[in-house]
Symmetry: C2
Subunit: 142 residues, 2 copies
DNA sequence: TTTACTGCAAAATTTTTGCATTAAC
DNA sequence: GTTAATGCAAAAATTTTGCAGTAAA
């Protein structure tokens, strides 16, 4: 799982003629080991503990690369912070966001996905990806 | 239609003890007459022509109020700009976004809405609102 | 070597706020 | 008179970029 995403990024990197660097490896490992929706800053801070030599800009640019390569995707929950999460090839998940405590639950629903394709087709759109977020209160907060 | 939203905001305003001002009226009319997804800046520039005396901060704060009152909602298409659109009481529409030419098509789908509620219920969430965006190429661009 | 990458700091964007003044109640 | 709203400009918060030095191919 993790190995294959690592591989996927390495393939992307070599196809693009990117160089392999220590920093990118560290960022990649850290990103892959962290199963959350991270902002650039969060990942940067997380890394800085063990790698005080890595700069914010490198993390920023590397996360952009991850998104470009397809192993990550940018998401925005409307709080003004861009987050990155793992992108699982083929599959897709959406989010339930608690606007009180900030809890985020991921879910998948094939029927919804199918309906989305239908709607898109009706309008002549070719869909590359989508974003579905449900906002409200979680069990604890409601 | 427009009248009722105007009314809705006025009700909200009086319930909250907000004062009625010329600026807010102008911003409200302008916002309601414009059937697009506007950023604060766009609306501000649009207004400035006829009302050079209205400040950006007022537009900014007023749009926030609109969102709070329920007659508008904030949306983000991932380009780093917050937009506002009309919120139609009860109904809800989602977006098809062309990532090449920027075209935006609105759509509604009751079945999807229903499935969303089911998913939310399964996870114990009480949903206040949601956001569904499909990204891809429109007819012309694909 | 040649080309890309890094780190820092500066710049550009956007969003948000403080405050004196003005207008509404 | 009180209280809230406005406009300006300044501050925060994010995202993005320039560039000299460094490291990979």
């Amino acid at each position: 799982m993790i190995i294959s995403k690592k591989q996927a990024f390495q393939d992307f990197a070599s196809a693009k003629g990117l160089k392999s660097t220590k920093q990118r490896d560290i960022i990649l490992d850290s990103f892959l080991s962290c199963h959350q929706h991270l902002t650039t800053e969060e990942l940067y801070l997380k890394l800085k503990t063990d790698n005080p030599n890595i700069g914010f800009a490198t993390v920023y640019r590397t996360l952009k690369l991850f998104a470009e390569s397809g192993i990550a995707r940018e998401i925005q929950f409307g709080d003004g912070q861009t987050r990155y999460e793992h992108m699982h090839a083929g599959e897709h998940h959406d989010h339930l966001v608690c606007t009180r405590c900030g809890a985020i639950v991921e879910f998948e629903n094939e029927t919804i996905e199918k309906l989305q394709s239908e709607v898109a087709a009706q309008h002549g759109f070719t869909i590359k990806n989508h974003k579905l977020e449900l906002y409200g209160y979680c069990v604890k907060c409601s």
